[in-house]
């Protein structure tokens, strides 16, 4: 597994292609404080892009804005030439944007199968036919290593399995853009490696991925592009290695480490 970590990132399949999603001037204010301030960036079709930054930098808020959970104070998000701002989350989901949550939020009272079924039945443009449904279900559960646990209640799952379930649920909507919020944080090295492979595999299947991560190994190992947020501003964007050497970034992290408090974006 460890070698998979050291493996050099694969070049984006269509990195030079038109951006799948382009964020322009997104700002978000909560009573006074600015969570986001004029964020611009593109995510290339088929690429893996990481968003990093100290706690409270506004990463999750940015996800919420893209997913339609929180309206921005200003700015636009174009997804495949379509404006997302103003659409309801369920509409955005059906357009092909899906997500996982920083602190996992499966439907705890429902079985693993039903968790995924919700996404299969509601998350896609067309309601799939019965036969195809079971097939898809089996495939997804197999892919995330939950095949044996379909009838368990989500609340009975281990932390790792809960993350897997979140991933399964997200995949069930057949997303074109996948937003992964600290999917890897809190996993053992082995689990980390395995999860990274899974992410690569998803990406290889043509799904563009935007992820928030603190685990630097994962960030460096996975991403083609890294975006750094600090106090709601984008302070850097570029190839992983370049970012690792960027002074601004280092300052942000060290400066922040001193004044670290409870995460504001929980």
């Amino acid at each position: 597994m460890t070698d998979s970590l050291s493996r050099a990132p694969l070049k984006p399949a269509a990195a030079r292609g038109a951006p799948l999603i382009s964020v322009r001037g997104i700002s978000k204010r909560f009573a006074g404080l600015r969570a986001l301030n004029g964020i611009d960036f593109d995510v290339a079709q088929g690429s893996i892009t990481s968003i990093i930054g100290p706690n409270g930098a506004g990463k999750t808020t940015l996800f919420n804005v893209i997913a339609g959970d929180e309206p921005p104070t200003s700015g636009t998000v174009m997804f495949d030439e379509r404006p997302l701002i103003g659409l309801a989350p369920n509409e955005i989901c059906r357009l092909g944007v899906s997500r996982t949550y920083q602190s996992v939020r499966p439907f705890f009272g429902l079985s693993v199968r039903n968790n995924v079924l919700v996404a299969l039945l509601y998350g896609r443009r067309a309601v799939p036919a019965r036969g195809e449904l079971d097939e898809r279900m089996a495939g997804i559960l197999e892919f995330v290593h939950l095949a044996g646990k379909a009838e368990r209640r989500a609340e009975q799952l281990t932390p790792l399995d809960r993350k897997r379930l979140e991933l399964a649920r997200a995949l069930a909507t057949e997303p074109r853009l996948l937003l992964l919020d600290e999917l890897i944080a809190g996993l053992t090295p082995t689990e980390t490696g395995e999860m990274m492979d899974t992410v690569r595999a998803i990406n290889a299947s043509g799904v563009t991925i935007l992820l928030i991560e603190h685990v630097m190994k994962a960030v460096m190992g996975l991403s083609h592009t890294v975006i750094v947020l600090h106090h709601g501003e984008k302070i850097a964007e570029g190839e992983p290695q370049a970012i690792a050497r960027d002074q601004a970034v280092i300052r942000a992290y060290l400066g922040d480490a001193a004044t670290a408090v409870i995460p504001a974006d929980t």
Binding site: A88, R105, L110, S111
Partner: protein, 314 residues
């Protein structure tokens, strides 16, 4: 579904259907008791579609009962036959449900319960004030002579429909959407569930049953007034019954209403005072120690399993 699953329901069905044919003196009394039981069970069952499956505790469920009662009563007095009246009642209730769902379903949790509870009082007072239409506090009398046996069958039939509907919905796409909303509404939306529409649908479906029950009720009791059909205690009854039996399970409201109603009957015929307190105590204890309700108690679960009536609510 396994054959044995039909054994107990079949037995109950036979008993209920056969009862009116058996001649014995207390027949009418027993039938009237059961009629009321069916009424409460039907209310609890239909309440639970919203309260249990959707996870929104609707303390205003009784509003639809009152609407139904008045619709049928008023129409009956101008010569509209019962059947037509009942259909009208359904229409009125569903329309009302659709309208209120817009402002009310923007509220979450206790906030929603609270607003729906207030709705009960609002309806009572409106019914009081529209004297010309409803007869106000003087009540609405309909000139149908009391029909025990038909009401008995009708309410039982409706209860069955309610149970079947619940089972069907719990297995359906709509039902899954409702459950996902119950578990985590924001997440449900993130995964494509059109929450507003589903909530409205759920409320409209659950409103149809109390509407018909209300219609049958006025036909049965012949005289209603706002304080009765829009009563606060009446409003809380189905909620308590559903939770007592096991919210979210089709069998739950049935168990709950049978248990609570039987208990009430027992207490009221045995003790002279403090019935309310005894009942209240039971309700408190259930709330404290049986969050899952009777149906989720181990022994009960085992029994249900043996009878093939166990459902999964995941």
């Amino acid at each position: 579904m396994r054959l044995r699953a039909f054994l107990l329901p079949g037995a109950v069905l036979l008993f209920v259907l056969g009862l009116p044919l058996v001649p014995f003196d207390a027949r009418v009394y027993v039938m009237q008791e059961l009629t009321l039981l069916f009424l409460y069970a039907g209310l609890a069952q239909s309440y639970d579609l919203v309260g249990g499956t959707l996870g929104y505790i609707n303390l205003g469920h009784i509003v639809f009962f009152g609407l139904g009662a008045y619709t049928v009563g008023i129409l009956f007095n101008v010569g509209v036959p019962l059947a037509a009246g009942l259909l009208a009642a359904i229409a009125v209730a569903a329309a009302f449900a659709a309208v209120v769902s817009i402002p009310f379903f923007r509220l979450r949790g206790a906030y929603f319960s609270l607003a729906t509870f207030a709705l009960v009082k609002l309806m009572e007072q409106i019914a009081n004030n529209l004297r010309g239409l409803t007869g106000g506090s003087s009540g609405l009398k309909i000139l149908a002579e009391n029909r025990v046996v038909p009401t008995y069958y009708a309410m039982f039939g409706l209860l069955i429909v309610a149970v079947v509907t619940t089972l069907a919905i719990n297995r359906s796409r709509l039902g899954l959407g409702m459950k996902s909303i119950r578990e985590d509404e924001a997440v449900a939306r993130d995964f494509g569930v059109p929450t507003m529409r589903i909530k409205a649908q759920a409320l409209m479906i659950s409103s149809a049953f109390p509407a018909v029950l209300g219609g049958l009720f006025v036909w049965y009791i012949n005289f209603i007034n706002p304080a009765e059909v829009f009563g606060l205690k009446m409003a809380l009854q189905p909620v308590a019954m559903a939770m007592l039996g096991g919210s979210g399970l089709a069998i739950g409201p049935l168990l709950g209403s049978t248990f609570l109603y039987g208990l009430e009957e027992f207490i009221w015929t045995r003790f002279e005072h403090l019935h309310g307190a005894m009942l209240g105590l039971i309700v408190v204890l259930v709330g404290l120690f049986m969050p899952g309700g009777l149906a989720r108690l181990r022994p009960v679960e085992r029994l249900l399993e043996r009878l093939g009536l166990k459902e999964d609510d995941q």
